[in-house]
Symmetry: C2
Subunit: 326 residues, 2 copies
């Protein structure tokens, strides 16, 4: 089906539906919640009955999103005729199986190339920096006037999934859509404060512990940080708060590969690998039974932290020095 | 003079000039260098002879800017008929006095509200997120086709001065101009890597030391970090690299005021104050003979680090608890 035809059919289904349920993925982030809420609030302005579902609770940092207090962890009952999934590559991401669908019409909106196309209508655009970009395009085609509540949700989706417009998925189109959102009168200072300036103290303590463990190898091309169970306990941080810490090591001048090793249990070490320019960390991680992408990968070790660290250093240092894993 | 008339006169002066010298400010940043280089490279496509001046050397992190190798620390001789100053609030910012001007025509392009309007033509727009925004408008009006070299310089100006589109000076117009720049085929990944992922190890070590000193007061509303002379010595960092560190303290949930105290000499302490929502740090800093803005200010103490810290905590804690300094 051509994209235009697909879009028109989706618009038609949504226009006709008296009630719509929206679904977003586990461990919710700014893009899945922002996309879901924006779409739902917009459909309500068309007089639809709308319900919001997420398997997990809304994270504190995203509780400012307009409409977020209406997201439920129980499935809508009765099940509406139209179910819309946003930012979900597959049904496991939303803790469901297709048994739930019954005779409902499934619309699947996503920007992940790996999307499993589980819907009757699948609008997948992997060129979009965020699912919110696709949702904004959809709303414009539905002829819905943007308001601040809808725009706040969509902006949050874009700014979080594009890494403040820094990730490689950011395009000229991303910036133009953002301009339209800002023109609704967005309170950017407040959104940025909620998103980026409300870090739990535990997260900063975890960064402190990670930096205190920082070591360089391979003439400064490899940076390794470790977090022990004790570090998590002392900082009061859970695993989730270590997200992104590895970038502090990756961004050091001269570093090509950065590794964060986290002790998550006895003889259980989770690792995250990042590279900057040429080293394929997916290949390195696959040597330890893990994987991912060229510039971001990971694996789990069933050994001690010290042993995992030695293995990682040995493999990556050799790769860096011999110029392997390109 | 109306803005339109002013713009037209500036265009006319530039069109007629056979040679132009461009000037940018001391301690050069991405916006002043990017603006100057973009303007100069564009004028060259019109067949002008162009020279670039900055009192200081180009920082390593900005050496990737196209044309940056042509910036000189010596004044152009002979002095061209047209001199263009970018991003300079006054002539001290470029280590000059008006004695230098002779009978040259001075064009002054800036986005600082405090600009001293020292030129014959002063294009000051304090609504622009970066001087590069104004320069792009100028280039479009000159009818110059953007190329990647020009766009790389302008994008760098915008992305650095807008804090990756996070500062409050970012507008819908900023994003639309950015879209135009990206469409020239900018290598965003490479620009971001050069700007943000080439941190000196010394800077990361300084962050480590700052975090190790972090203390909270006033029920977590005040975060204080200190850097000793020994911290600077051990990390190998100079003062400049402590720029921005205070934001790690400011962004902690619950913190209203963050302070970084730096020992820069015996009995000489430089301090930076930041606030998030309501506390006027300008008022607090002025109690110590310093000043700045409501949300960012600073002062210098002629006492020991311990004493300066005690004074700061005492004044700010009281202000926070009594709700003063709004």
């Amino acid at each position: 089906m051509s994209e235009r035809l697909l879009t028109e059919e989706i618009l038609e289904v949504l226009r006709k539906a008296p009630s719509v349920a929206l679904f977003s993925h586990v461990s919710p982030d700014g893009d899945c919640l922002g996309s879901m809420l924006a779409l739902g609030l917009a459909l309500e302005t068309m007089g639809k009955k709308v319900t919001f579902f997420n398997p997990d609770r809304v994270p504190m940092a995203l509780a400012f999103l307009p409409g977020s207090d209406r997201i439920r962890q129980t499935l809508p009952d009765p099940r509406p005729q139209v179910l819309v999934f946003v930012d979900c590559t597959d049904l496991r991401r939303v803790s469901l199986t297709s048994d739930y669908f019954g005779d409902s019409i499934i619309i699947n909106i996503d920007h992940h190339i790996s999307n499993q196309k589980f819907g009757h209508y699948n609008w997948i655009n992997d060129q979009a920096s965020a699912c919110a970009e696709i949702c904004l395009t959809l709303l414009k085609q539905l002829g819905i006037a943007l308001n601040r509540e809808i725009a706040t949700n969509l902006y949050t989706g874009i700014v979080t999934d594009s890494g403040c417009f820094q990730y490689s998925n950011t395009t000229a189109h991303t910036h133009r859509l953002t301009a339209e959102l800002i023109e609704t009168g967005l309170d950017l200072a407040s959104i940025h404060y909620q998103l980026f300036d409300q870090k739990p103290l535990a997260q900063v303590k975890l960064l402190q512990a990670a930096l205190n463990s920082l070591e360089l190898y391979a003439d400064g091309q490899l940076a390794v940080m470790t977090l022990t169970l004790e570090n998590f306990r002392q900082s009061g941080a859970d695993q989730e708060l270590s997200e992104g810490l590895v970038n502090h090591a990756r961004s050091i001048k001269g570093v090509e590969v950065a590794v964060l090793l986290k002790e998550v249990g006895a003889q259980e070490i989770k690792s995250g690998f990042r590279s900057n320019v040429w080293f394929d960390v997916n290949k390195a991680a696959s040597q330890f039974g893990g994987g991912g992408h060229k510039r971001a990968a990971g694996c789990t070790f069933k050994v001690s932290l010290i042993e995992a660290k030695q293995q990682v250093i040995s493999v990556i240092e050799e790769g860096l020095i011999l110029g392997r894993h390109r």
